[in-house]
């Protein structure tokens, strides 16, 4: 099977999965007691209620409601937020980029760091370095990430006053008083991103580092490493070209399997640092019973996760020519 065919198959699977998820979400909210609580809130004006009832066909039987729901989803219509009283999709559109920014940079950093450190630690095995890094890795793996985030804010933002306490932008720079240049804006976001990114990366890189180390230790026992040594190749070349390349495969497999874990982490990070992303929106909407917003945020978040998994699958198929499904 060619790579294009493989990708096409995976994309189809993702569409089906998203469809199943959307259906389950529909059933979850519609089958709850009360008057179709996912669309109409008690505090809305009667006029708005009428409009929404008509738009979502709440007087019709369930299967027709379902068809309307699917049609609305395909048109990007997720309903009206109870709290913000605006269109859900418009609200979520602005929250998508921050999540993708934090998640993508963090995940890439964590893998680059994990693979490189794991490689070096395995190479210098048996010493204090291996012992210390394994212990650190275990602690990072079992520390509640949100708590590490709180500690980081306490020390670096509150005590040392080095970083902002939360958020993504300084309002003054973003047009509250004066419109600043593009570079200033980028630097401002980077300044706000630093702490959440560090905490998120620390929390997920440890698993990759330990996995890479173990995989590397296994690979070093292989015959072709002995052969490379016998040929008198430089140590660095054996480590990076012969051992690390093969040892990386399990880590790349773990990339797509670990996506769910990473996303959990990014939601907690968004909450701690008031990062204006999908995760925090989902948390707040769920807790304030803003059902349309929670529903929309959930479906979009699932979409982002599935696309991330697709990318890691493609990467895997690309790196390992044996994978031809």
């Amino acid at each position: 099977m060619s790579l294009a065919k493989f990708v096409a198959k995976r994309v189809l699977e993702i569409v089906v999965t998203l469809f199943i998820i959307a259906t389950l979400v529909f059933l979850l909210f519609r089958l709850m007691p009360g008057d179709a609580s996912s669309v109409v809130a008690a505090k809305m004006t009667p006029e708005l209620k009428e409009i929404l009832r008509a738009r979502f066909g709440l007087d019709k039987p369930l299967w027709q409601q379902y068809l309307i729901y699917v049609k609305n989803l395909l048109h990007g219509e997720f309903g009206t937020s109870f709290y913000w009283e605006g269109d859900v999709f418009d609200i979520l559109k602005a929250r998508m980029l921050p999540t993708v920014l934090l998640f993508t940079t963090g995940t890439l950093l964590a893998y680059a760091l994990g693979v490189n450190l794991g490689r070096i630690i395995a190479w210098k095995r048996g010493g204090k370095l291996e012992y210390g890094s394994t212990l650190t890795g275990l602690f990072l793996r079992t520390m509640p990430m949100f708590w590490v985030g709180l500690l980081a804010v306490w020390v670096f933002s509150y005590r040392l006053d080095l970083f902002p306490v939360g958020g993504m932008k300084t309002p003054e720079i973003w047009g509250a008083t004066v419109e600043a240049g593009l570079l200033t804006k980028i630097l401002d976001v980077a300044y706000h991103l630093f702490l959440p990114l560090t905490v998120y990366t620390l929390a997920i890189f440890a698993g990759n580092m330990l996995l890479m180390k173990n995989s590397m230790l296994e690979t070093l026992k292989e015959d072709y490493i002995t052969t490379a040594r016998a040929k008198g190749l430089p140590e660095k070349k054996i480590r990076d070209h012969h051992a690390a390349r093969n040892a990386m495969l399990p880590v790349v497999t773990a990339l797509s399997l670990g996506m769910a874990f990473s996303f959990n982490g990014s939601i907690l990070t968004e909450k701690v640092f008031s990062w204006p992303g999908l995760g925090r929106t989902l948390v707040e909407a769920s807790l304030s019973h803003d059902y349309p917003l929670a529903q929309g945020a959930f479906i979009l978040l699932a979409g982002v996760v599935l696309v991330a998994v697709l990318f890691s699958d493609i990467l895997y198929a690309y790196l390992d020519p044996r994978i031809k499904y």
């Binding site: 520390m143 949100f146 708590w147 996506m259 959990n264 769920s286």
Partner: protein, 304 residues
């Protein structure tokens, strides 16, 4: 006849005793595994001790007891070794209560997840066909989606959650991982000669699955349970922190949420530090026990 039966029972019992002894000998070799057990024992004692403070004085009741002389946040003192929270509740008795709930939540959620995962893995691996496809597809979807959003959305639809809802939801999300591993193991066991001979002797599928295959995958299940406890404890803490916890249960995650929402994150280290440290160390202890178990389950990891 009776004497024959008696000896059989005795040998079976002796065999079990020997097995326990052998397993312990193997486990003992793993220093980290033993360290994990020691830490777990300490937390077990702390959890049991959680009944003591409320008996000493009513103000030490973790959820309702407030110190009438303080009625607010206060730093550590003789009366309150870890200080009090924003309502004047004793933080040390909350910490002990938290140990109890961490163990209850972690162990029940992980056990439930692994029992379901093992049964699904056994059925799916042995029977194959449509049942296998359906179960594995469901597992795939659950493995891809992050747990916190799923629990949030279900929690939002339910309106309010109790600690047992949280346990059930964590278990519901925890079975796919173990089920995949068990299934792979069953697929390999299925082809072994001893299963073939059982089939030829006319054993039913049910008997083969639960009598012949299951005992061979149980160590693996136990391994996944220990790692599952770590995940469950961390997940419960995270959920409580973002507000999707049971407010009538004093868990460590809940303590941190109270600290955060009452605006005391930056001025009360005696409130912020202990719960987080406890979560870390208890989660670590189960992880270490898992590493110790791994060396029993996977002989390749043993030092030769």
């Amino acid at each position: 006849m009776t004497s024959l039966l008696h000896t059989e029972v005795k040998t079976k019992w002796q065999r079990r005793k020997k097995w326990v002894k052998n397993t312990w000998m193997l486990f003992k070799k793993s220093k980290v595994g033993v360290l994990g057990l020691v830490i777990l024992a300490i937390f077990f004692v702390l959890a049991l001790a959680s009944v003591i403070p409320p008996k000493i004085n009513e103000m030490y009741i973790p959820l309702y007891g407030t110190d009438p002389e303080i009625m607010g946040i206060s730093p550590p003192s003789l009366r309150h070794p870890l200080g009090t929270d924003f309502m004047g509740r004793d933080l040390f008795s909350q910490l002990l209560e938290g140990a109890k709930w961490a163990l209850i939540v972690g162990i029940t959620a992980a056990t439930a997840a692994v029992v379901v995962g093992t049964v699904v893995g056994l059925v799916s691996g042995y029977s194959g066909g449509i049942a296998d496809t359906l179960l594995q597809r469901t597992a795939d979807i659950l493995l891809t989606l992050p747990g916190i959003p799923i629990i949030l959305v279900i929690g939002a639809a339910l309106g309010q959650v109790s600690i047992w809802t949280v346990v059930i939801l964590i278990a519901l999300l925890g079975w796919p991982g173990p089920s995949k591993v068990i299934r792979a193991q069953v697929l390999s066991l299925r082809e072994r000669p001893f299963i073939e001979s059982a089939t030829v002797s006319g054993a039913s599928s049910k008997r083969i699955i639960f009598r012949h295959i299951a005992p061979n995958v149980l160590p693996l299940s136990f391994l996944y349970m220990t790692f599952g406890v770590t995940t469950a404890i961390l997940l419960e803490a995270g959920l409580s922190f973002i507000g999707m916890g049971d407010p009538s249960t004093v868990s460590w995650g809940m303590m941190l949420q109270w600290c955060f929402t009452s605006g005391n994150t930056f001025n009360a280290p005696y409130w912020l530090l202990p719960p987080g440290l406890c979560i870390t160390v208890l989660a670590l202890s189960f992880y270490l026990i898992g590493i110790g178990t791994q060396q029993i389950v996977n002989p390749r990891l043993r030092e030769r």
